[in-house]
Symmetry: D2
Subunit: 290 residues, 4 copies
């Protein structure tokens, strides 16, 4: 197994004092098992570990065979966006509350990782979205999203009007607070609050969920992941596009937001006993078995 | 009937060239019937009618026996907020699309008004909301709303956290995009888009509608109009309070938004054949009689 | 206080072995305090207490100053329907899970009742619905409901079509699985599952909630409790009317279901620390205070 | 092109007098073009066309190269279920209102068919569901569905309780009026009324939509079409399973409803200008282009 995951990167949540103990412990543990350990430079800096082997994220993408992320789902989202062009599988370790993406509890981190390194894991491929913002025919911004792209009204609070075009075909005009375009991963995040369905992670699909649409008959649409979605901003006092709720870009009337699947998927590794539906039940407070 | 509505104010939609013809015509018509006509100063200014009898809105509140508003529902909202302290009944004339508040079509304006002035009308009393924003124990802002008060996230797009307290009792904590507090009048506006119910105008009630709440079990609550609703902002990157979607005030963590019914109601006059449910059907595109 | 609640009726959930111990204990306790105790005849029969003073429900309505119901919300619903013509206040004791109507836990039953009998209580008046089913001009059935009246499709599973008329005015035609008409009390029961809002118990209102309406723009409407709602069944393979989910009457095409508020309200007594919103939070699993 | 669609079957809506003129006309027209025409035996019987070449549906499945269905979506559903084991593509002709499946208007039937027969068409493959009802380990009933399988409460109106298991994994227990399992085709039918999302026809997926679930956090889940969904009926007064709203089978406590994709898809042919999104807009009354 050492051949499979020779070099392991450790990446911690930004500015999280909780991992001062756990992350160095994990580094030691993995080195003791014979792995090369690279600590993300930012993380090492925050934790005073710059004397250990560190690497920038881009370097991690090149050199690591596995990246272990300690933090919450938010950390996983940003790391996944940055590593999506590479082929490094990710393991998410949560430091408290079970996450959709960070399903390994810090308490059982060593056992779980030992098993994963021994080849005892479940693999999941997850879709990401690639977005281009086009103004007057030029791409002025592009970004990736793991959960969702949200086109929304700004701070003035007035609804926006846009036209949705899918694969070149006019779909609808909408006056609303905005629209969430979510991957299966993001379908349990903001899209769910906006009234969207849950998409199983194996689906080659994404979902368009209107936010407070003016038309009462507006409904979420699940489209094929190979669809090209274009949103033409027709009217707005102020509007912006949000990526995983972590990055933001302001748009103007006439701009086109062009969304398609990212060329590569992200690979997640889970312990063998991982169950997507169990996570759903716990996160959404669904009832127990009768 | 002249005794009842001796002085009639005419108020036009801001900067609307459509009424250049209709408003002076209506003024002439009413004067010909023997009424004193006061044109809102702003309206007269825009239409070049400053040579006619004009009055500021505050003066209209004092002197007019009836105010005829030409415009759309948006104009009615702002005029109603400004006249709520007075006892001037309003008639709403729409210049195109039927409104919830502007139910007299401009085409039949003269017939409808003649009938109304002859005592042929239906009276409706409508609730408004009074809001105070309290910071460190001091009221730093107060405003009225006819449709709704919306406490919402700002342009950064991150959800806000607040506690709702009704009549001194803790109701819930909520992480969401915001909360709409709507009157029966406002229940068919933004609150409806956010998933709220329709409240019949005769109800002494208002409704709290969460916007994209993080908790899936969050639901709209209709409360007694005599309730005092207090929203304590617990967490937000940026947040603001919107009044009828027309005025806005930024709030900070720790601020309390205190909402109660306004001391006075607004009186609307409708033609005899007015039907609230007919308006609903037309505006919401409900099906026809089978 | 003995003067206020001299005679106390005890009514148990139908065929519930749990109360074999608690109900006789409570009877003894109340007699020891000097109250006359009447056990509902059915309850006494089931618990082998026919040697104690018993009474039919109609007699309880005449003679008791207070009725204590041991069971769940379902028991409260049926007892309330039967006692609504009388003026006996009710106290609900739950035998396990907190109920919306049965808010006194069996564990603290004696303390809570002692306090209530001493005048330490909160009073709530709750609306009921009165329904008549009219066929060819004749009322062929009438019944009361505390939670809701549900007009619904039958076992064949095909949608029904009906026209809703409120106060003589046509409101809409609807093709749906049915319609829930719920009181504030019932707004947290089936109506909530069907997408309706929560109505605070003090509201003089009821709510019409469509069940899986064919028209996507159909929405719940909250109407004044003084409204007369008439539903005309226009098309159905089979259809029936349900009262609190406990009674049922089949209807045919052409039948009219006429719903209005019952002439009298039911009075509930709660311990002083009763909080409607606290019950909501617990029953709906809303989040805790931040 | 005659080689491609040599033999064409014509199938009419059951007992529909409207097609007395159109269907024989179409038969003559197609014969004049040189095609062999088979009229479904039932249809021929109803229209007095037994002297023409007729065939049972099973024979049509074997012999026809194309089946033209005149009727509405309901007719298409039942014909598709019957022909799914064969490889006959279908064209749907509507006799009035545009259908999701019957998108050729009767008025332009001849032009549209002429073009389709000339190879000017768009092909769509649509998923169907296969259901088995298992009692005590034995399959006691099986059926196909094109739109949806609905497990629901019966005429007594009491909610049912079941456990959902997907690919052998427990997903949730649910107390509700029932559950809709819909194909992409069925996602715009009953599932939509129950709050489900729209699934684009190209998706290899189906959706589970709860009907009036008791748990407020229940949400629609879109699963991979290769999933095996099993619903274990845990409690019910009466319950049944509905297939496309056209067939029905009663189930009992302990029964398992086992749902998976049907082995074969149905092929639909559309005129070249067919647009799924255009149909959506028209059927759902979505707004026009701004």
């Amino acid at each position: 197994m050492l051949t499979q995951f020779k070099t392991i990167a450790l990446i911690g949540k930004y500015a999280s004092p909780q991992m001062e103990v756990t992350l160095p412990q994990l580094a030691d543990y993995l080195r003791a098992l014979g792995h090369e350990v690279l600590i993300a430079h930012n993380t090492a800096d925050q934790l005073g570990l710059l004397h250990q082997a560190t690497a920038e994220l881009s370097e991690i993408g090149e050199r690591a065979d596995l990246a272990v992320v300690l933090g919450g789902d938010g950390t996983m989202l940003s790391i996944a966006r940055m590593l999506v062009a590479h082929d490094v599988p990710l393991v998410g370790v949560n430091q408290g509350r079970l996450g959709f993406l960070t399903d390994v509890p810090v308490e059982t981190m060593q056992e779980n990782l030992t098993a994963i390194l021994a080849g005892e894991y479940v693999t999941e491929q997850r879709l990401l979205l690639h977005t281009e913002i086009v103004r007057a025919g030029e791409t002025i911004f592009s970004a990736c999203a793991f959960n969702d792209v949200v086109v929304s009204k700004g701070g003035m609070g007035r609804l926006i009007e846009f036209e949705a075009v899918i694969d070149g075909e006019f779909v609808y005009s909408q006056r609303s607070d905005g629209l969430v375009i979510a991957t299966p991963t993001g379908s349990t995040a903001y899209a769910l609050s906006a009234g969207g369905p849950i998409l199983h992670p194996t689906l080659e699909a994404f979902v368009l969920v209107p936010i407070c649409a003016h038309t009462l008959a507006a409904r979420p649409i699940v489209v094929n992941s190979h669809a090209l979605v274009e949103l033409h901003l027709v009217h707005a006092d102020d509007a912006s596009v949000h990526f995983d709720g972590q990055r933001q870009w302001d748009i103007q009337i006439g701009d086109v937001v062009r969304i398609s699947r990212a060329p590569k998927k992200i690979t997640l590794l889970h312990p063998k006993n991982y169950s997507y539906y169990k996570t759903l039940r716990e996160k959404l407070y669904w009832g127990k078995k009768l």
